[in-house]
Amino acid sequence: MPIFDSDISRQLQSDVKQALATNSPLIIKAGGSKDFYGRTTTGSELNISAHQGIINYHPSELVITARAGTPLKCIEQLLSENQQMLAFEPPAFADSATLGGTIACNLSGPRRAYSGAARDYVLGTKIINGKAEILSFGGEVMKNVAGYDVSRLMTGALGTLGVLLEVSLKVVPIPDAEITLVHSIHLSDALAKLQQWTTLPLPISASCFYQDQLYIRLSGAEPAIRAAQQSIGGDPLKQGNAFWHSIKEQRHHFFDTNKPLSRLSLAANTQALSLGGDTLYEWGGALRWLVSDTPLENIQSASQANAGHACLFRCTATRDTVFQPLAKPLLQRHRQLKQAFDPQGIFNIGRLYPEF
């Protein structure tokens, strides 16, 4: 798969300058694979998808730096040719997904509970801030505490603080072997088992529970996998890769619905919440997908009551409230940060919260 080498950062910078001069809000967009995510926003489109290319990749450094418009699938293919991968297993949701969108959304796949989220692997970023300045933060080394961690602040900010131009990510070796095991089990027993396994030295790399089936993926050196399989039991699933792909990309039949899909992030040992609808569990119980007509407000207050949070991940109606409302002092800091990076307020206005 060819990766184009095209640097349009000066063009993007001049587009931002123009927007500042005319005070016109911008919607930052690349592949559009995650247009459904976040609040509905308005403005003219700043398209970064032509800003592509690998800037630096030396497999022995365990780092890749690429332009934000580079297709995610190109990066993943390049890594896999070198027996490496992105440890956070990002969902793409479409072939058009880019590196920039992946980092702006900070979405991570099944491996997240065991290896970390997108934000854990971000080492550096180059951005355009709300003054149309091109700035670099972090870098390509594993340890770097010079200056505030702006790169991680950008991760998951949904483009509200600036335009991502380049991202440096830590990458990891592909495990030697993987196996998926299935247990037929009831929910409460499944959650208890997941709890128990978390506190044992097992090479678990993914977990999912749906309709009385508990799916566990083990990853690592071949002998380690065999030993762990002996210890936890279960029936091997032949199409393990396809199963996890269907969960990550939300192509599993659970996700095939016109009802609103909510994403709940809770302590792994939180008991099942009575919110109606259908639930699929991931991340050892810490991530719960809910297909339900229950009002978002109720879902969010139930999540908050359990020290977690919830967002409306996908829906067909207008997306007015999406993310869990922030406590007042926290919201205040968010607005001040927005002001610090985008003083004129032109980037993805209201995509995260209506207040900024």
């Binding site: 900070n106 300045e133 390509e140 010079a146 702006v150 406590a327």
Partner: protein, 496 residues
């Protein structure tokens, strides 16, 4: 030798008034104001920088800290937070015009959740004490700075501390789940939560490594890891430091992520050997310590692979620790390398640059040339696996001009790290020490962005003023001394 702070805040009340206001918040013994009582707080572990604060406060409740911060905010009084004072960059250096806020009394472990693998602790809890409290559940806290016996978790968060094992297990930022902080206005903010993520901006990452510039940490929830079933360590000797550097890249390229991968050069090997008799090969130019952990089966497979790679990299000798006793001895030399160097030189200056691994051999060679040029020996003991260098510059503070020469050499080393694509600090922080090198690593616009970010949390600039991020004027002054090819750094600024 002392360096003084450039910051002068004008508080609206005098010394006596301040003392009486503080004594309304704290009992008599918790406010120190006589100079002999202030002396122990004059510096952190970067002892070349010393100055006394106006007063030291030692609160023991969140409410007291809240009231202290409200007072500081009201009367525009700078406040510098301090944990155990083990920091190496002057981050806890007091402000002469402000309060030194010691968090030493916040040393309770509030809860250990063996099911969720979390520990909720106060900021003054020592790093090692967390692992000790978790040990009964076969859990531990992974980041292990070499000062872990003394350093506190609050300081670890403020500095984003690393350690020997962060190649595999990450830095502090990867190992915490929730923070409670107080803003300079005394407002309590909870960042993070019970789930693996939280809504909004990643303030958890922003606070981590912010060097006490954005808020005061009053509670930390750390993630605990399950103790590995098996741990094994190899020691490899080399007759050439470049071969050792290349072996590091070979191990990583083979898809193996060791739990720790450390290098020492000849000067460090000999100093450590004389100090603790770890059994290191004295004649070697460099040694590598490689620790592998995981399940029995995994470690066995990886030990074989690494052994073969080291032989292929022309190691002159490879030893696998034959028992736990020998493994501990291998590490004893490494963990005592700094004090060992302290035995062979009256003073040393520890640097903390990080570089891409592939530049290791080149940078080590350049440092050896610089060492010659400056007439000061350098011992190297460092986290080779993640390219985090700790050159120790040997000097004698009693010899006129040697400290200045050591600082100048250190500055050059950091600039070299930036030039090869690295950073001036991997885990020790900027503090007071590396402000000038920040001007080399960041542009005026980037530094201005940092200042705007700071102002979002602390508009009056009262939290640890003058640290971590240099003013543009400071950079202009520093840059003027380093004009490259006729290009003046920061040309947009007025000169004075």
């Amino acid at each position: 030798m002392s360096h003084s702070s450039v910051d002068h805040h004008c508080s609206s009340i005098n010394h006596q008034q301040l003392l009486s206001r503080l004594l309304k918040i704290l009992p008599v013994g918790s406010v120190l104001h006589e100079s002999e009582d202030l002396r122990p707080y004059e510096c952190d572990a970067l002892a070349a920088y010393r100055q006394l604060p106006l007063m030291v406060v030692l609160p023991d409740s969140v409410e007291q800290v809240q009231q202290i911060l409200r007072l500081c905010h009201e009367i525009n009084l700078p406040v510098v937070a301090r944990g155990a004072g083990t920091g190496l960059s002057g981050g806890a250096l007091p402000n002469t015009q402000g309060l030194l806020l010691s968090m030493a009394k916040f040393k309770n472990i509030l809860a250990v959740d063996q099911h969720l693998c979390l520990a909720r602790v106060q900021p003054g809890v020592r790093n090692l004490a967390i692992s000790q409290a978790a040990e009964q559940y076969d859990l531990y806290y992974a980041p292990d700075p070499s000062s872990q016996i003394a350093c506190t978790i609050g300081g670890n968060v403020a500095e984003n501390s690393g350690g020997v094992h962060c190649l595999k297990y990450g830095l502090t930022v990867h190992n915490i789940q929730q923070l409670k902080i107080l803003t300079i206005e005394g407002e309590l903010i909870t960042i993070g939560g019970s789930g693996l993520d939280s809504p909004g901006y990643d303030l958890l990452a922003l606070m981590t490594g912010s060097e006490g510039m954005l808020g005061i940490i009053i509670e930390v929830t750390v993630k605990l890891l399950v103790k590995p079933e098996c741990v094994q360590t190899l020691l490899a000797a080399f007759d050439n430091i470049a071969k050792a550097a290349n072996a590091v890249a070979d191990i990583i390229a083979a898809g193996i992520i060791p739990a720790g991968l450390e290098m020492m050069d000849k000067l460090a090997i000999q100093a450590a050997e004389d100090f603790v008799h770890a059994g290191y090969p004295r004649e070697a130019e460099a040694i590598l310590l490689c620790e592998l952990d995981g399940t029995e089966a995994e470690v066995h497979a990886h030990i074989q692979a690494v052994h073969a790679l080291l032989n292929k990299s022309s190691a002159t000798e490879v030893r696998i620790a034959k028992d736990e006793q020998e493994r501990v001895r291998f590490w004893k030399g490494r963990k005592n390398a700094f004090p060992a160097v302290g035995k062979i030189s009256p003073d040393y200056y520890c640097m903390d640059g990080t570089i891409p691994r592939q530049r290791l051999a080149q940078v080590l060679q350049s440092m050896s040339e610089m060492s010659h040029d400056y007439g000061l020996a350098i011992a190297n003991v460092f986290h080779a696996g993640d390219g985090n260098l700790h050159p120790l510059i040997l000097y004698d503070a009693n010899k006129p001009g040697e400290l200045q020469r050591a600082e100048a050499l250190g500055g050059k080393i950091l600039e070299l790290c930036v030039a090869v694509g690295g950073t001036i600090t991997g885990e020790h922080g900027v503090g007071m020490e590396k402000l000038n090198q920040m001007c080399v690593q960041f542009s005026a616009a980037e530094l201005t962005q940092f200042h705007a970010l700071k102002a979002a949390f602390d508009p009056k600039g009262l939290l640890n003023p003058g640290k971590a991020i240099p003013t543009l004027h400071r950079c202009a002054e520093f840059g003027a001394m380093h004009v490259h090819h006729g290009d003046l750094a920061f040309p947009e600024l007025e000169r004075f």
